[in-house]
């Protein structure tokens, strides 16, 4: 890929990039990470400046014509997982994620994209999902389930939006259990079946705004067609897109989106979910970035877990808004890893050191990442579970 001077000239006119001149070099964007980690951008270059602060100086150098784009630099920009830690920490309110995403958008427009990212865009464009699988396989998990689609269901209150996790075998287990718990709790819901398309959150984060708009419009047209008013999202990434991004695409959209943990917590409070089994486990909850840092949902999963009999809930170090990213978001799961930081291993190791029975998450992407980390460490004892899986086990 070749990025010429015109691209940088265009950057110079974009106000978003001028924010880098307000950087204090305080390092807060990376500092509250654990000792051995700086930022998820360090997955190839493990160094103190493989982080938003270093990127600020890189952008300054670009704007001042002291640096040219290179494939390595493009790759670096796409390593950000959009975990939002830099934005949460930055005392100068620079919101580094905003210009990282702006840079990605500009690079996508220029056609300067890592090959693996381009493959994801092509998959979404052709098949409506990030995995390159057929649209008709989206509801393959449901063949033994009695869940109804929105066209089959006579009466439902909620749409259950599953996102591309529906294609992932590990997450299909989570989905089946969520469906089961909702049914037992008397929740009236349906799903879009094979009509559903990817929520597009990662597509947007990776800079393909046009493709995201296409996906959003497709999904929104379905919401309108079926009179959807309330949506339960399985994944925090889908939740974030539905709640925060879709209303920007359609200003008339009147849909209430919640994450499933919010509903489950409410059902517990109302007594619609009752536990009968004692799980007898020690568990810690990992705050996923899109539920926590992006949307400030910290307590609902904890309240659910605290209500499960026999579950001893302990807090991880670096929890809530200080949570360490699993390394999968923002498109980073599709970027080839280098010799740098293995982000999911850091978090997984923290959990291992706590002698837990279960590492719990409420995000299918975190679950995938941690299952991969478990294989890496050949860790037999500690298992990875979604919140709903433990609810199901205790019913």
């Amino acid at each position: 890929m070749k990025i010429g001077k015109e691209f940088v000239e265009k950057m110079k006119k974009n106000e978003a990039y001028r924010k880098v001149y307000e950087c204090l070099c305080c390092g807060a964007c990376a500092s509250l990470w654990p000792n051995e980690h700086r930022c998820s951008m360090a997955t190839r270059y493990q160094g103190s400046e493989a982080n938003p602060r270093g990127l600020n100086w890189i952008i300054q150098s670009l704007l001042e014509d002291k640096l040219s784009f290179s494939p390595g630099l493009v790759d670096f920009v796409f390593r950000c997982t959009t975990c939002n830690q830099c934005t949460v920490n930055c005392p100068a309110s620079l919101e580094p994620r905003s210009y990282i995403e702006a840079l990605r958008r500009d690079l996508v427009e220029e056609g300067a994209i890592p090959k693996s990212v381009m493959e994801v865009f092509q998959s979404v464009s052709r098949f409506g999902n990030v995995w390159g699988k057929s649209k008709n396989e989206r509801s393959s998990w449901a063949k033994d389930s009695d869940i109804k689609t929105v066209s089959e269901a006579k009466d439902f209150e909620y749409l259950l939006f599953l996102g591309d996790s529906a294609y992932v075998e590990r997450n299909q287990e989570t989905i089946k259990k969520l469906v089961n718990v909702l049914q037992k709790s008397g929740v009236r819901f349906a799903y879009l079946g094979n009509e559903e398309r990817s929520s597009g959150n990662e597509i947007l984060r990776m800079g393909e705004a046009g493709l995201f708009e296409m996906l959003a419009e497709q999904n929104i047209s379905l919401f309108k067609k079926y009179g959807i008013k309330k949506i339960i999202a399985l994944s925090p990434h889908s939740y974030h897109a539905l709640k925060n991004e879709y209303p920007k695409i359609d200003l008339d959209l009147k849909v209430e989106a919640i994450h499933y943990t919010q509903l489950i917590r409410d059902l517990l409070v109302k007594g619609k979910i009752r536990f009968s089994k004692d799980l007898n486990i020690k568990a810690a909850y990992h705050d996923s970035c899109y539920l926590g840092k992006h949307n400030s949902i910290y307590e609902e999963p904890r309240e659910i877990l605290s209500a499960i009999p026999g579950l001893v809930l302990v807090e991880m170090d670096y929890a809530r808004e200080k949570s360490v990213c699993c390394g999968g978001g923002g498109g980073a799961q599709w970027i080839e890893r280098g010799d740098g930081v293995v982000v999911e291993n850091i978090r997984f190791k923290q959990a291992m050191d706590m002698n837990l029975d279960v590492l719990v998450t409420a995000c299918p992407l975190c679950a995938q990442q941690f299952e991969a980390a478990k294989e890496y460490f050949s860790e037999g004892r500690m298992i990875v579970r979604d919140v709903i899986e433990l609810v199901y086990d205790a019913l």
């Binding site: 001149y21 305080c26 500092s31 103190s48 100086w57 014509d65 290179s70 630099l73 309110s93």
Partner: protein, 518 residues
């Protein structure tokens, strides 16, 4: 002399009034010619994963906390040692090619302290192992790249802490603590790094590994501060990496206090009020141990905080702030005995403050400062929310000069038409020292404003030196202002040691006072 420019066209360079020494100017071309070979040798010696030289990665090292003052040279290569032996190999290669070397970790140093001189930048972030926590002898030993905040999280779990922690969330390493003799905002009471450091391991500029610490050099004994052997540790404190690369640090730690209280005391927002605070601090200082920490936040800084807490761009009436807060003295009290002892100390402090016209107004600021110690950034965010400040000047002033310095500095700002709304002053007082922070807020997008701010700050720096200030760190910026004030015999020995430890002058050349000026 550095040229000025505009980042609308190119770069916001700084304008430093005095000549900055660049002793490698002649040799830069020579080692740059050999750079490919040097990179290859580093890769072959350390392994490819420990050497980076892609242009954009090198560009990510062009700045540190010095910001606009001094545009750091871009390094030619960055290396990531994870052991003292790795560092030794790097130094050996650097000596072979006579290429400058500078080590850094968190890159929050300032005043041009970590300029690579286009040579080798050693990133210490992978030297991040905690080697030992000795609870019986109250010490801990870490590799130099360990983050102070992280270490405190670990220590607190065991009921201990390292008290000279900085009041912000920056990735400060222990190597940096020693190189700069930092202590953060609580260093004045509990001591700066010089007081806490027990011993070091250093890879000298000549490639030798030297262990220091009068007990650290005896095999099989725990680390104590006191022993009957000569201690070389203090040679490396505030040496800013000019003698060698610190690879291991042993520090003293202490128990987490049993009780802690804080209070905000308001004084009149005038010169009389300021003077009263200094009198209070002198009195607190005489009564050793009565308070662990005393911060003066002047009215202008309180105004900045209020604007910060209100939100970016929100106007706050200065006179309302002056009436509500005046100049604030934030006092923190620790007790290692009981809450009752804390109460007694508190009463005594309040009596002293009242005697000098102070009025207790609560503990909001004290709590915010204390939270900053745990990495909760509300205070720093409020301070920085206005805009990025220039690198604050930090200097230790004798107590009797703080008030006259403050008064003259305000006159200076007025002479230069720098609005007082865009400055702030914080003093950290203790029995160890009287550390003052002075900062101005330029508009980083307005080159003329930045240049004016630089000029004003350099005049403030001159004022500091005229009034007997001791630089908190020297770096490259303070050097020209301090050289002619130093005892020639002292300089001569400091430079002799430099020649002994670093015969080829590869270790951070140009920093501080280690070379002749030309």
């Amino acid at each position: 002399m550095l040229s000025s420019g505009s980042h609308d066209e190119g770069v916001a360079d700084c304008r430093v009034q005095k000549v900055v020494v660049q002793p490698f100017l002649g040799d830069i071309l020579m080692f740059l010619e050999n750079m490919q070979e040097i990179r290859r040798e580093l890769e072959n010696t350390l392994g490819k994963g420990k050497v980076l030289s892609e242009d954009f990665i090198l560009s990510s090292y062009i700045r540190d906390g010095t910001l606009f003052y001094y545009p750091l040279n871009k390094p030619s290569v960055i290396v990531f040692p994870d052991s003292s032996e790795d560092v030794q190999k790097i130094i050996k290669i650097a000596n072979k090619y006579k290429i400058p070397v500078v080590a850094s970790a968190g890159r929050t140093s300032s005043w041009g302290a970590v300029d690579s001189n286009q040579g080798i930048a050693i990133d210490m972030c992978r030297m991040n192992k905690v080697i030992e926590i000795d609870k019986k002898n109250l010490t801990f030993t870490v590799q130099a790249g360990v983050n102070v905040h992280h270490m405190n999280r670990e220590l607190v779990k065991n009921g201990f802490y390292y008290p000279t922690h900085p009041l912000n969330m920056a990735p400060i390493s222990f190597g940096s603590e020693v190189c700069k003799n930092t202590g953060g905002e609580v260093g004045c009471m509990y001591g700066h790094a010089a007081k806490r450091v027990i011993g070091l391991e250093v890879v000298l500029g000549n490639g030798d590994i030297l262990k220091t610490g009068s007990s650290r050099v005896i095999k099989n004994v725990p680390y104590f501060q006191q022993s009957g052997l000569p201690d070389l540790t203090q040679l490396f404190v505030a040496a800013e990496g000019a003698y060698g690369v610190i690879t291991e640090v042993t520090m003293g730690m202490q128990m987490v206090p049993v009780a802690h209280q804080g209070m905000d005391i308001k004084f009149e927002g005038s010169m009389d009020g300021f003077r009263s605070i200094i009198d209070v601090c002198q009195e607190l200082r005489m009564r050793k141990g009565i308070a662990c920490n005393a911060h003066l936040v002047d009215f202008y800084c309180m105004w900045v905080f209020e604007r910060g807490f209100a939100g970016k761009g929100v106007e706050v009436d200065g006179e309302v702030v002056r009436k509500k807060f005046g100049h604030i003295l934030i006092v923190e009290i620790d007790s290692f005995v009981s809450e009752e002892e804390c109460d007694l100390k508190r009463e005594a402090v309040l009596e002293i403050c009242k005697k000098h016209g102070g009025q207790y107004i609560g503990d909001e600021m004290a709590k915010a400062f204390e939270a900053g110690i745990r990495g909760e950034c509300a205070v720093t965010k409020a301070l920085f929310n206005e805009s990025s400040p220039m690198v604050p000047f930090w200097a230790d002033l004798p107590y009797e000069y703080v008030t006259p310095f403050y008064e003259k500095s305000l006159d200076l700002l007025d002479r230069y038409n720098w609005p007082r709304k865009r400055m702030g002053f914080i003093g950290a007082f203790g029995d160890e020292s009287c550390l003052t922070f002075y900062f101005t807020y330029p508009n980083p997008h307005d080159t003329a404003d930045v240049e004016k701010s630089i000029e004003v700050n350099l005049r403030i720096l001159e004022l500091y030196t005229e009034m007997g200030a001791i630089p908190y760190r020297t770096g490259r910026i303070w050097r020209p202002y301090i050289l002619d004030k130093l005892d020639p015999s002292y300089l001569s020995y400091v430079r002799s040691i430099k020649k002994k430890f670093d015969p080829n002058n590869i270790m951070n050349p140009g920093v501080s006072v280690f070379e002749e000026e030309y």
